[in-house]
Amino acid sequence: MLTVDGLTVDGLGVRAGDTELVREVSFSIGPGERVGLIGESGSGKSLTALSLMGLLPEGVTATGRATLAGRDLIGVPESRLKRLRGRDLSMVFQEPMTALNPLMRVGAQVAEVMTLHGRGRREARARAVELLERVRLPEPEQLARAYPHQLSGGQRQRVMLAIALANEPALLICDEPTTALDVTVQKRMLDLIAEVAPALLFITHDLAVVAAVCERVLVMYGGRVVESGPIREVFTRPRHRYTEGLLAASRLTPRGTRLPTISGSVPAAGHFPGGCVFGNRCPHADALCETVPALTGEGHAHACRHPAG
């Protein structure tokens, strides 16, 4: 797994004190590739992204190795990360209202990320307007002078995207960028992301959204990658029982019929069963599942003792 250009993550772990939150996550994203990271809330997908950005909250630490274009991302001092963040890799968060500064005009916020990385003030300001135009905001000149509260949710999220793209990063991470948006606005935003992203790690809990944007997908549950592979393969022939259950639950059956469900609910962090993390909710679990299954398979990989199909 040696890609010089893209992102390579090898054996990533995240822990808070004695609680293991993410374990042995390995994947790579080549230049131009769009990879989805799906899972329910509490599965560790946002922590994975934050550890790559070096933005883990205090008391939470990451181990393992992650490199972007040959540069280390984990276990390096903040001073080094600061130069990478917003320049080589950047992130679009779920809540544009809390991520944007309410007291600063949006044009200045887009320009700021460029001046921080050494671009001249005037040049940055001019480029900010170009970027706002690139994310298809109407009348970018006037809009650059607006404050976040004057924009709609969709427009704010476009501003976030403009900020993320400002320094032509090698990798864009999007964490549920459209969850707070209406479906018609979401569609335009997804098309835009797919068009402008250099290499993309797209985090969502919505399987249909990931199918619309990505080529490859990683399914996370209980802090582990339980299945990975090309979208079409994983979604049409899921092997892990969790992926199978998730797909079944995502397809709404005709009225009057019962929806397939996964029994129980996602356990709290640190309360996942030993062995297979899905063991306590899986209808196929048996004694074999008490030892951790490894993620095996080339291309389409899964970590399940009793795979489907």
Binding site: V183, L190, T236
Partner: protein, 274 residues
Amino acid sequence: MPTHAGTPRAENPGEPLIEARGLSRVYRRPRTSLLRPGAAVHALRDVSLTVGRGERYGIVGESGSGKSTLLRLLCALDRPTAGTIAFDGRPVTGRPERDLRFLRENLQIVFQDPMSSLDPRMRVRDLVAEPLVALGLPVGGRVAELLDAVGLPAGAADRYPHQFSGGQRQRIAIARALAPRPKALVADEPVSALDVSVRGQILNLLADLVDELGLTLVFVSHDLSVVRHVCETVAVMHHGEIVESGPVDEVWAAPAHPYTRALLEAVPTLEDLT
């Protein structure tokens, strides 16, 4: 036509339970000038709808379409600027709160976010019993009965909302809504805040309860595919108006209004993959 309380549904199915005629609601923005009043926001314009007894009625629309305003009016949590609402043949609009007991007993609501709609400092027992206490009805063994009906263990009664997962909290909210044995249940995006694996559990539960208790359901969602699974009838809202309504399968198969078509096309699906 007025019917006396407790009439079994089977005797008069299809008869209207909720009737709204020509509802409008105008909000005023705070004034920005001393000389002129604040700008008017037309949240609802001339909306009429009829929900039959035992019907599952879906309302679909995006944020700002007026669906929450409509719900607030139907539940008499707000007053319309114009128009009338009748519930079970009795007028709701223009009455003071003390004359709305028939509505409070018979129409209950489940909100979108089960965290903010449950008081974090109340035990589940008190939360579920609250509508009964507020209406002066006997509580008795009703809490245990309700918790059982929504699939929660009896021990849940002594715990606090934060000790439950999102799906379980929504079960508590449903138990609370059902406490006074209402005829109608209004659900405002009840599954939007839930994970997919739990969404099915809550939708199945709602369907079971509506069937068992013969409830009338008003189900609001931004997702037409969820409404199609739950409801027979749908109204599509856009800019404060109902732009299209009818049997959900017909609207789904042949949307007549351009906005409905745009809405259907925008919903990402997994169908193209199979």
